[in-house]
């Protein structure tokens, strides 16, 4: 866990400081630049008719952007495994909700008006 990353205590060091990896500024700017590129890409892709592939492509780009934000801006890449479990299970529950509801609604014809 995070404590294992600690270096030796200094004499005036009370307890442990939170384990933090010196978040590199370069990583933040690289991620920001990539997010900008993907934003332009998603807008550009929406101007072209790709038939049924427009939405999957837009969602794939959005997922990529979200993963970059989660891993680097939200520091999950350096987070303890317990945090990973919470994050992965929350998306798992979201998946369960989507799959079960869609298996009903998207497989039959509903019409309200």
């Amino acid at each position: 866990m995070a404590q294992s990353h600690h270096t030796t205590d200094h004499s005036d060091h009370v307890g442990h400081a939170p384990a933090h990896h010196e978040a590199s500024l370069t990583a933040y700017f690289v991620v920001f630049f990539a997010l900008m590129v993907f934003t332009v890409l998603t807008v550009a892709a929406s101007r072209v008719n790709l038939g049924v592939w427009n939405t999957p492509l837009a969602l794939a780009i959005a997922v990529t952007k979200a993963v970059m934000v989660i891993l680097w801006f939200m520091h999950v890449i350096h987070s303890p495994r317990m945090t990973w479990i919470v994050i992965i299970s929350s998306f798992l529950w979201l998946g369960v909700m989507f799959v079960l509801i869609f298996s009903d609604y998207l497989t039959r014809a509903f019409n309200i008006f």
Partner: protein
């Protein structure tokens, strides 16, 4: 986790009065700031798990109705100004960068830099909401606000009008809930600007700023999905 606690327990046993001079922001029920940091980060992610499911419900209903009225959804999204949406996306991602830099500033005990980055985050968030308000005013002027004020008629195909109204329900609901989260974020930012300026944060203690960052980035992620789904639906799909 239990072995970690035991380990620290043993360490402190040799030093019974260790807690007498602990860090001013170390809560008494934690062994040390590292444990406190891990617990608060984990707690924030638990909260964000509920937020993921909360917004997930919106995305779920959006998809169900989009599947029922694909043409109306495309027409409704086509009516949005994608250029304004793009600018706002860039502004919001920029605010995420400044938020990440504020956390970095807190970790490295750069008091002025942290405060400045938090103020910048607040300003960029303000620009985002200002643009959003401008978009809302145009929609309302066009009679696109759902309910009794809905006077918009889609002349190209009037049969799509009611479907477009439904699209606008999701548009206002989802962007409105997103905007509400940003307003709450403003309150948090103001509080942390004061604390950062006062010099509360440093190498040992920066968890609150880190958690503020988690919240702000989450709100950014919601927008990353809202933007293509509300502005960029292609008419062909």
């Amino acid at each position: 986790m239990s072995d970690v606690t035991l380990h620290h327990g043993a360490e402190h046993a040799a030093e019974p009065h260790a807690h007498a001079h602990h860090h001013p922001f170390l809560q008494h029920h934690f062994e040390d700031l590292g444990q406190q940091h891990e617990a608060s980060t984990l707690g924030m992610w638990m909260f964000l798990a509920t937020e993921i499911l909360f917004f997930g419900g919106f995305f779920l209903a959006y998809t169900v109705y989009r599947n029922m009225y694909p043409e109306a959804w495309a027409a409704g999204a086509h009516h949005q100004n994608w250029m304004v949406g793009t600018i706002n996306t860039i502004v919001l991602i920029g605010s995420s960068l400044s938020m990440a830099l504020a956390v970095y500033g807190a970790q490295t005990a750069k008091r002025k830099f942290t405060t400045l980055m938090l103020v910048l985050t607040l300003l960029l968030g303000g620009v985002f909401l200002g643009v959003k308000a401008y978009e809302y005013s145009i929609h309302i002027e066009e009679g696109l606000f759902p309910g009794s004020h809905f006077t918009y008629v889609h002349h190209a195909d009037p049969s799509l009008t009611r479907g477009i109204e439904l699209f606008m329900v999701f548009y206002f609901g989802m962007t409105g809930m997103h905007a509400l989260h940003m307003v709450i974020g403003f309150g948090l930012l103001l509080y942390f600007i004061r604390r950062a300026w006062r010099g509360d944060f440093g190498e040992e203690y920066y968890s609150p700023i880190e958690i503020m960052g988690l919240y702000w980035h989450f709100v950014d992620i919601v927008w990353i999905f809202l933007f293509p789904l509300l502005y960029l639906i292609h008419g062909g799909a």
